[in-house]
Amino acid sequence: MNLTKEQQSLLDGSKGETMAKVVKTLVMYGEAFDAERMVPVAEGFGHTVISFGIGVMTPVYDLYEKLLSAGAVSGQKFTADPRPLDKNVPSSLLKDIVFRVMYSQQERYEEQLRKFGLRGENDYTCACYLPQVGNVPKRGDILSWAESSAVVYANSVLGARCNRNSGIIELMGSIAGFVPEFGLLTDDGRKADYVVEVKTSQKPEAQLLGSAVGMKVLEKVPYIKGLDQWIGTELNESATAYLKDFGAATASNGSVGLYHIEALTPEAKDLGDSLIRPDAQVYVIDDAELERVKNSYPCIWKDMDATPKLCFMGCPHMSLGQLAEWTDRVAAALQENGHGKVVIPTVFTSAPAVIEEFKKTERYQKLMDCGVVLSYICPLMYMNNPLAKKMPVITSSNKLRTYTSARFYSDDEILKFITGGTN
């Protein structure tokens, strides 16, 4: 790899042994992908996937202590994934005890984040790119982010450039101020290896479509055709919320870091079919394929007929528009089904900044009247509690389904469950 004089000097130890090791790590990372040079990260904000102080992850916090002691802090402010705990989310005495043991490093870690350069005390969300949060990179910006759903959104919807960096590595990129240039940072790495033809009879559910695409293409770049007829050709609130959920499912059910949507996402709009490699494979998704994918999901509930005891919506965190839409849907369905409040404890999750905005609207009280809990929590972190794992929890998040025992249902099925409709 060709390093600049300044980068070489850092590697040689001009700013100490720890900084040299940070740069060595980034150099080795780049060499694994034949990167030829480092490129500076854009001004603006970083984003870290590590937001939790889990006891067993002590080696991570010890490593961070070493970095801080050496003065190796982030050159840019950054946001972080959601906090793992919120007392408003239904729990029990026993669960709370387990949570306290599990997340015994939380305070220590949050203090470390402050020292590294966390932007603000409420900047904990996986959807940092939502306008209310304001960590919105520009097209072409080079990022050192981690959080699979945020990376795929930044690349695909915003046109920024970021590899699927791991936690720790992303912070090291922010500390050094540069990252190795390879993969999704290059024009060639952003070309499509797959053409996905959407031929469904109705608008496919974002989390299900994303799952099908992710499981098929894995780490490849898909170019999606036929979706614009369902979500339009403008990146408005509705389309971006759809793409947020779609992308999260592609990234968690596979390892997609970038997708293009014909006539919608910025690079597809500008470059069209020229983004598609000549030897790209074709994957057709119709109603039957979506049904097949949905039926393929394993469920590890002990009692498959158990009545759900908790429902999580909002993984990744819901947008302001989604909160409004779901409030109306829940309220209308409850009225139709003759119930005043949700019949299954239900938690909607969103970014603290989005929640603050939502609280200013009339719908906030409407949602509270429906009995729904609104939280900034990370549902995945909640479900890591072994007592939660044993509970029959339902969700329409394919990411949550992938990593936990939560059972996946479509949005319509979820609505029926929580409002006492007939399933």
């Binding site: 990372y29 067993v56 080696p59 992938t402």
Partner: protein, 147 residues
Amino acid sequence: MAMTFQGRVVAPGEVKAEALVSHGGFNTLASFQMALMFGDKQVKCGDQNNPDLYKKPMLGKALCLPETIGSTTGGMVLYTACALGKQPACMLFSKPIDSLAASGAILAANWTDSNMPVIDKLGEEFLSYVKDGMTVTVGADGIVTVE
């Protein structure tokens, strides 16, 4: 019959271990999180979506896989497993390594005392040939022998 496969060294080292094979993408977070969190001594795979590995012990095995998938905590999880001595004996990729696995391997090599050789680009034939329980020997030059 012993078969040899030439790969590329991502993290150096030599080791001999029993093969554990995943034909689908290996979800690092889903596979390790419960075992690490609750001190499972055998580090059994917790990914219910991986029929090849679910509930099988991973500690000390030669983990043979196409690539890793899923959360970008993957590299951090792998680093933590190595720091705690809960890692596979080696990781052997049929495809070019992905960014998350590379991060984990490189973080472990630079910031822990663990020894987990990582070889990639072993080819599809490698993953077709190797089966659970076979003996795998990894050489410092990236040559993997399966018997």
